[in-house]
C-alpha cells in the first residue's frame, strides 16, 4: 500500500460529549489490527483536533488520503470499521455518511483567521502547530522587530479588542510601551463568562499555541517579562491543553529566559478562575489574580498605565491574541482589508439557539445578520418563524427581524441598542417570550453583580422584581415606563461595564417588542405561551387517544383518565412543567 493517510477526529468539548475520544481509539485499534499502521508507519496518523465549529454534527472526522480530504459527520465508534475497510483499504468513500450540503453552506461565507488552524492541528502537539507555520511570527517579532515596529503593525491593522468593548489593540499596546516601569504584565483574559459564547474556549482547547504566540509578541512589544492566562474554572479541557502547550514551549525555548536565543525573557503562568462572571472585567480580573474578591475598581487611569499590582498591564482577550501572529506574518493591510473601515479583520461568533446549523463561525466584519442566520445558520429550526436575534450575551440586546440587514460591526450593533460583546449570537423564534428573555438575562446579571456600587446592586434587583411581576401576571400600569427610567439611571451611574450594560436586554426588548410587554400587563397573556403563570394546559378531547403517555410522565400526578379514553388535567395539581406537552405524540395537549 502506497498511501499517505491522516485521520482527524474532533475532540473539543462538543466532540468529546458526542464520543470523540471513543471514535479516535476505535480508529487506532482498527488501523493497527488491519496492519495499516505498521506497514505505513509515519505516513499514517490518527490524531485529535480541536473544535471544528460545526458541533451539532459531531463527531466530525476528516479522512485525508494522499491529500484528498473527505469529511464524515455523526461518526460513532461502531462506524469506524466500515470506514477503514471501505474508504481507507478499498478506496471507496462511504457516501451516505459524508457531510452534506449544509456542511458546505455552513463554511462557504466564512473566512478563517483565528480558527484557521483550529480543527486542523493536534492541540496536544507543538510540532503540529510549528508545521502549520506556528511560532514564525513570534520568532520574527522577537528576533528582528523592535517594539515600536510591532505596535505600528498592530495599530495599522485596525484590530480591536475582541472581548466586547472594541478598544483598539494597537493603542493599548502603545500606551503599555510608553509607560516606564521596572515591571510590566501581559494578561490574557480567558474568563469567557458570557452565557452563549464559546469561541475563547474553542481556541484555548483547539489551538492554545496561537494564544501563547500572541502573548509573546505582545510581551516583546511592550517590553514585559511576565504573563498570566486567566481561565475560567468551568473550562477544564482548556486549562489542560494550555498547561501542556506551555510545557512544550518551555522545552522548545519559546518561553523562559533568552527565548529564540534573542536575549529576551518571558514567562507565562496560568491562573484558574473561581466562578465569578464579573472577573471578565479587566480590573476585577486583576484583583482576582491579586487574591482578592474580584470587584472592579474605578478606572482613574488605564490599566496599561496602572494595572496588576499597580504596574502597567496590557490585558487582551483570547481571540485578540490569537489574531496577532497572523497579522505579524501577513501584514496589517491584509488584515485591515478583511473588515470594515472602522473595524479590521474577522470576528468569531457562536451561533446558537433556534437555528438549524449551530456552531462556531468566523466571518469578516461587515457581514449582515441575515447572512449569518440564513446562509450560514441555514434558517430557523423546524421552519418556525424568526422572532429576534440576541447578540452580546447578557450585556447585549435583542434585534428584531426588520433590522436583519444591518452590517455587523461594533458601531452598527450599538446603534440598534445591542453590542458586539464577545460574539454570542442567539436566535430566538416565535416560541420564545421576549419579556421572559429579558428576565432571564436580568436574573443572570443580578446574581453576578458584585455588589460594590449601588446602581448595579440595587438597580438590577429592582428591574428583576418588576420583570418577575410582569411575567407572573401582576404587572401594573406604568411598569414599562418605570423599567425604562430605571434602566437609564443604571446605565448612567454604574461603576463598571457589567452595570452599564445590564439594562440593555430590557431596553431593547421594550423598544422592539413593546406589544408583548403590554399583553402581559394589560391582558395578562403571554403571546408566546412561555410564562408559566399566564398559561394553562388542557387536553383536547377529540384528539386524545388515551395512550397514557402523559399520565406516566406527569411528576405531579395531575392527569386522570382510563386507557383508550380521553384524559384530562387536574388544574389544581398541575405544576405547569410542560412535560406532558413535550411527550404527546398526537398534539393533544394545548397550551393557552
Amino acid at each position: 500500500m502506497n498511501k499517505d493517510i491522516i485521520i482527524k477526529v474532533c475532540t473539543g468539548t462538543g466532540g468529546i460529549a458526542a464520543g470523540g475520544n471513543e471514535v479516535l481509539s476505535s480508529f487506532r485499534k482498527t488501523l493497527s489490527s488491519a496492519g495499516i499502521e505498521s506497514s505505513l508507519q509515519d505516513k499514517c496518523s490518527a490524531h485529535k483536533v480541536g473544535c471544528r465549529g460545526f458541533c451539532s454534527k459531531d463527531v466530525l472526522v476528516d479522512i485525508i488520503i494522499n491529500g484528498e480530504k473527505t469529511v464524515y459527520q455523526y461518526v460513532k465508534p461502531d462506524m469506524v470499521e466500515r470506514l477503514v475497510n471501505e474508504h481507507i483499504i478499498a478506496g471507496t468513500p462511504v457516501t451516505e455518511w459524508i457531510a452534506g450540503e449544509d456542511y458546505h453552506n455552513f463554511h462557504k461565507k466564512q473566512i478563517r483567521v483565528v480558527l484557521s488552524d483550529c480543527g486542523e492541528i493536534d492541540p496536544e502537539d507543538i510540532n503540529s502547530y510549528i508545521k502549520a507555520g506556528g511560532y514564525e511570527a513570534a520568532k520574527k517579532a522577537v528576533t528582528s522587530m523592535d517594539s515600536e515596529e510591532i505596535v505600528k503593525v498592530i495599530k495599522d491593522s485596525n484590530l480591536r479588542g475582541r472581548g466586547g468593548a472594541g478598544f483598539p489593540t494597537g493603542i493599548k499596546w502603545e500606551l503599555g510601551l510608553k509607560t516606564r516601569s521596572d515591571l510590566k504584565y501581559v494578561i490574557c483574559n480567558g474568563d469567557e463568562g458570557d452565557p452563549g459564547a464559546f469561541m475563547d474556549r474553542s481556541v484555548m482547547e483547539g489551538n492554545p499555541h496561537s494564544v501563547i504566540e500572541g502573548m509573546i509578541i505582545c510581551a516583546k512589544a511592550i517590553e514585559a517579562h511576565h504573563g498570566y492566562i486567566y481561565v475560567r474554572a468551568e473550562y477544564p479541557l482548556a486549562i489542560k491543553n494550555l498547561k501542556l502547550a506551555l510545557e512544550q514551549c518551555y522545552d522548545k525555548g519559546f518561553l523562559g529566559t533568552n527565548i529564540f536565543k534573542a536575549g529576551f525573557d518571558f514567562d507565562i503562568k496560568i491562573f484558574k478562575g473561581a466562578g465569578a462572571f464579573v472577573c471578565g472585567e479587566a480590573t476585577a480580573l486583576m484583583r482576582s489574580i491579586e487574591g482578592k474578591r474580584g470587584m472592579p475598581t474605578p478606572k482613574l487611569w488605564h490599566s496599561a498605565i496602572k494595572g496588576l499590582w499597580g504596574k502597567p498591564t496590557v490585558l487582551n482577550n483570547v481571540e485578540t491574541f490569537a489574531n496577532i501572529p497572523k497579522i505579524i506574518l501577513n501584514g496589517a493591510d491584509w488584515y485591515r482589508r478583511l473588515g470594515t473601515e472602522k473595524s479590521g479583520g474577522t470576528k468569531v461568533f457562536s451561533l446558537t439557539g433556534k437555528v438549524k446549523n449551530t456552531g462556531l463561525i468566523e466571518v469578516p466584519l461587515g457581514i449582515t445578520l441575515k447572512e449569518i442566520i440564513y446562509d450560514i445558520g441555514g434558517g430557523i429550526e423546524g421552519d418556525r418563524e424568526f422572532k429576534a436575534v440576541q447578540t452580546g450575551g447578557p450585556s447585549g440586546g435583542c434585534i428584531p427581524a426588520k433590522l436583519l440587514d444591518i452590517e455587523v460591526d461594533y458601531e452598527s450593533l450599538a446603534q440598534v441598542g445591542s453590542i458586539m460583546g464577545s460574539g454570542g449570537v442567539i436566535v430566538l423564534d416565535e416560541t420564545d417570550c421576549m419579556v421572559n428573555t429579558a428576565k432571564f438575562f436580568l436574573e443572570f446579571t443580578q446574581s453576578e453583580s458584585c455588589g460594590k456600587c449601588t446602581p448595579c446592586r440595587i438597580g438590577t434587583k429592582r428591574l428583576l422584581e418588576i420583570l418577575t411581576r410582569i411575567t407572573t401576571g401582576n404587572g401594573k400600569k406604568g411598569d414599562i415606563e418605570l423599567l425604562e427610567e430605571l434602566s437609564g439611571d443604571i446605565k448612567a451611574t454604574s461603576l463598571c461595564g457589567l452595570g452599564m450594560t445590564a439594562p440593555n436586554p430590557v431596553l431593547s426588548t421594550i423598544k422592539y417588542f413593546r406589544d408583548e410587554y403590554e399583553a402581559h400587563i394589560k391582558d395578562k397573556k403571554c403571546p408566546a405561551a412561555v410564562c408559566k403563570d399566564l398559561i394553562e394546559f388542557s387536553i383536547l378531547e377529540e384528539v386524545c387517544k388515551g395512550c397514557g403517555a402523559c399520565k406516566k410522565v406527569c411528576p405531579a400526578d395531575a392527569i386522570r383518565g382510563v386507557k383508550k379514553t380521553p384524559h384530562r388535567i387536574d388544574l389544581n395539581l398541575c405544576i405547569k412543567c410542560g412535560t406532558c406537552f413535550s411527550v404527546c405524540k398526537f398534539k393533544a395537549i394545548s397550551k393557552s
Binding site: T13, G14, I16, A17, A18, F54, C55, S56, D58, E192, G193, D194, P195, G196, A197, F198, S202, A233, E234, Y235, P236, F271, K272, G273, A274, G275, A276, F277, S288, I289, G291, K292, R293, G294, M295, S350, T352, G353, T358, G359, L360, Q390, G393, P394, G424, I426, L428, D432, T437, F440, F441, F444, E448, C450, V553, P555, I575, C577, G578, T579
Partner: protein, 153 residues
C-alpha cells in the same frame, strides 16, 4: 485534615503566594471548604477569617457545605435556556426531593448545581454528570444516566 492542609500550603508557598489557589486546592481535596480548614488557614497565614469568608462567598465555585457524591451540573446559559434547561432543572429537583433553597439530597448522594455556561452551546441543553459533558439532554436521557449511576454503586 491538618496534614492535608500542611501539604497544600507547602506546595503553594513554593510559587507566588495566592490565597485563591490555596482555597481551590482545599476545595478539590475536601469537596468543600470545611470551617475547620478556614480557622486553620486563617491562623497559619495570619489572614482574618472574615477576609477568607469574603473571598469564599464571592466566588461561585467555593462551597461551605458538604457536597453530594455525584454532582449534576445543569447549564443555565442562554442557549440552554431557550432549549429548555429550566424545565430539566425543576424536574430534577422535584424528582430528587430537594427542598427549595437547597442543592443536595439528604443522604449526600446527589448535588444539583447550576452553572452560567459551560460553553458547549451548540449541543444545548447541556448537563454535566460528574464532570462528563452530555449534550442535547432530555429528561428521559437524564433518568437513564441516573439509573446507571445508582446501579453502579
Amino acid at each position: 485534615m491538618e496534614k492535608v492542609l500542611e501539604k497544600i500550603l507547602a506546595s503553594q508557598l513554593k510559587e507566588d503566594f495566592n490565597i485563591l489557589s490555596i482555597l481551590q486546592d482545599v476545595q478539590d481535596n475536601f469537596n468543600y471548604i470545611p470551617e475547620k480548614a478556614l480557622n486553620w488557614l486563617s491562623k497559619k497565614l495570619n489572614i482574618p477569617e472574615s477576609r477568607l469568608f469574603g473571598i469564599i462567598t464571592f466566588y461561585g465555585q467555593f462551597h461551605l457545605k458538604p457536597r453530594g457524591e455525584n454532582v449534576i451540573t445543569i447549564c443555565r446559559g442562554t442557549a440552554c435556556h431557550v432549549n429548555g434547561s429550566e424545565k430539566l432543572l425543576n424536574r430534577l429537583l422535584l424528582e430528587l426531593d430537594i427542598p427549595p433553597g437547597e442543592d443536595t439530597t439528604g443522604d449526600l448522594k446527589f448535588t444539583i448545581e447550576k452553572v452560567n455556561c459551560v460553553g458547549a452551546c451548540s449541543i444545548a441543553p447541556v448537563v454535566v454528570l460528574n464532570k462528563e459533558i452530555h449534550g442535547k439532554m432530555t429528561f428521559d436521557k437524564l433518568t437513564r444516566s441516573f439509573k446507571k449511576i445508582s446501579q453502579s454503586e
